[in-house]
């Protein structure tokens, strides 16, 4: 009873701080659409780092990662490679996206595609993929939140009530401050995530007897827990490589990261960001320790996602348990808030402004974006109740779908022969193959996504080379590229 009371108190405190930060963000807001969606393109280095890091570190990285140690042994450790690739993408693609956005006033991914390829079919395709895949990834966060609410409150708060509390907090501070509120709360969430992930790993490792005891015991239980075994080797190595491609590229193509790239205050942010994100990736050691120690400590391994909370509940001080619960909530909230905000931006700019009313005054557009936040949250809540979830699968599924956008994005930045027709066919064929493989085979989602990406790239390349060059597209690509190179970043 005391534990539950402490948990509830901490959850209340945890809910109050973002609301406070949301209010501060509202006071600084200028009330324009650009301010609500892109913080007037004045996102400074530290808030940018915090919001990118916290958005990237989701329920997938915390609970999903620990569960992955149970099911696939060391495959999750490819995370060091994918985190590094995600970091490096900011200098390769991110700075260009920022430059193109500033030059032409882009606010979403579809704006970029429209600006370069100018194809209505491509615009619609990109918008649909963006919305659908981001909704999937958002469901992964909600799935994590449901498990957490149920286990941490021992059923005192039901899924339905927990979901309402979850979205109510999120909608209030997003409504108040847009991206500024997201960035401010992400600083708070980011600190919580790092401390909670690392301290959980150290605590569980200490409880299990330390590294000197845990790893020899794991090896005696099954060497497959610390190495890739011969029996399942081929599949696991393939997953190791495919996750390295799908996760960072998929995360980078998410609308929330496009928005952060556009919102940067200067090109200098992109010089430092890869280093900061690269160094931060060391927190996966927390997941490694938690996952490994949990395998040794847990008696019932049937539900890996709940194991860690059960172990903490049994072994840790109630305050520490409550603190870790808040840390996991932070990982979930920091990603979910960015996704809801990004989806609201996509609806406002890419759907309402583009197709329904392009003459809407700026103030009305901001109001619409705020209502879109509420609308997206309601849809997610309904899906949360109706659709069963698997945390890791949902996240990889979402990323596997959206990663197909990377091919025409690279084409638009580096290859003047790129054509809109090739981009359309490549993306649609890639998505069709991805869905087909998911339905017809039992391959891991990440492997299906990479197979689709290969087909997409091949079709894009072949069609761009073999069809008649699209002169206007080539001109736009060259003009934007020359402008970027002339700045000598």
């Amino acid at each position: 009873m005391v534990t539950n009371a402490i948990n509830l108190l901490l959850i209340c405190a945890f809910a109050f701080i973002p609301l406070l930060l949301g209010e501060r963000a509202r006071m600084r807001s200028t009330g324009s659409t650009e301010d609500f969606i892109l913080q007037s393109r004045r996102l400074k280095l530290f808030p940018m780092y915090a919001t990118v890091f916290a958005t990237y570190m989701s329920a997938f990285a915390f609970m999903g990662g620990i569960g992955y140690f149970f099911e696939n042994g060391p495959v999750y450790m490819t995370t060091i490679g994918w985190d590094m690739l995600f970091a490096v993408l900011f200098i390769i693609l991110g700075r260009r996206i920022w430059h193109y956005g500033r030059r032409s006033g882009y606010m979403t991914a579809t704006d970029f595609f429209d600006g370069i390829y100018s194809s209505e079919v491509l615009n619609i395709t990109v918008t649909i993929i963006t919305i659908f895949c981001t909704m999937l990834y958002l469901q992964a966060q909600i799935a994590g939140a449901i498990i957490l609410i149920q286990v941490s409150t021992h059923g005192m708060i039901s899924t339905y009530v927990g979901g309402i509390i979850f979205f109510a907090i999120l909608v209030i501070y997003l409504w108040e401050g847009g991206l500024r509120a997201v960035a401010m709360t992400d600083i708070f969430y980011g600190v919580l995530i790092v401390v909670a992930m690392v301290s959980t790993g150290l605590f569980l490792m200490h409880t299990a007897g330390g590294v000197g005891k845990v790893f020899p015991e794991l090896i005696s239980m099954d060497p497959g827990y610390v190495s890739i075994s011969r029996e399942t080797g081929k599949q696991q190595i393939l997953m190791w490589i495919c996750l390295f491609i799908v996760v960072p590229l998929g995360a980078f193509m998410g609308p929330q990261i496009w928005i952060r790239n556009y919102a940067s205050a200067s090109s200098g942010n992109f010089t430092v960001l890869p280093l900061l994100l690269g160094v931060s990736s060391i927190i996966c050691v927390g997941t490694l320790c938690s996952g490994s120690a949990s395998i040794v400590l847990a008696e019932d391994k049937s539900n890996p996602l709940e194991v860690i909370l059960g172990l903490l509940s049994a072994n840790a001080h109630p305050l520490f348990y409550a603190f870790v619960t808040a840390g996991i909530f932070a990982a979930i909230f920091s990603t979910a808030n960015s996704q809801v905000h990004a989806l609201a931006a996509v609806y406002t700019i890419d759907i309402h402004k583009r197709y329904f009313n392009d003459k809407l005054p700026d103030r009305r557009l901001v109001f619409l974006a705020k209502w879109a936040v509420l609308f997206v949250s309601v849809i997610s809540y309904i899906l949360m109740i109706m659709v069963p979830h698997n945390l890791f699968d949902l996240a990889v599924l979402g990323m596997g779908g959206i990663v197909q956008l990377i091919v025409p994005v690279i084409g638009a930045m580096f290859w003047k022969r790129s054509s809109a027709r090739a981009a359309e066919v490549g993306i649609l064929a890639g998505e069709a193959l991805f869905v087909g493989l998911l339905v017809l085979t039992h391959m891991d989602y990440s492997i299906c996504a990479v197979a689709a990406l290969i087909l997409n790239s091949a079709l894009f390349g072949i069609l761009s080379l073999t069809t008649f060059p699209e002169v206007s597209v080539s001109r736009r690509i060259e003009s934007a590229r020359r402008d970027y190179q002339s700045r000598d970043y």
Partner: protein, 85 residues
Amino acid sequence: MTKRKRRILLAAMLIFGFLALEFPGILVVCQVIRPFIFGLPFLYGYMLIGWVYMCIVLFIAYLTGWGKYSLREYFRSKSRVFREK
């Protein structure tokens, strides 16, 4: 060294890191358990060494503005700022 060559060198160092951490590096180390590195099984220790290497490369990239300046130019400008202070 020209800016272009510095950028190529940085890219090569990053690609080397990715090759070692991912493919084909993983094929070499995936089944190795011993020796333990930092008290961790070989694969985990290897990944941590890879992390250190990548952080050093990213740090050099940051100092040189991703190849825009040489390290010598960076340290020269720093010592000038220090002397002026």
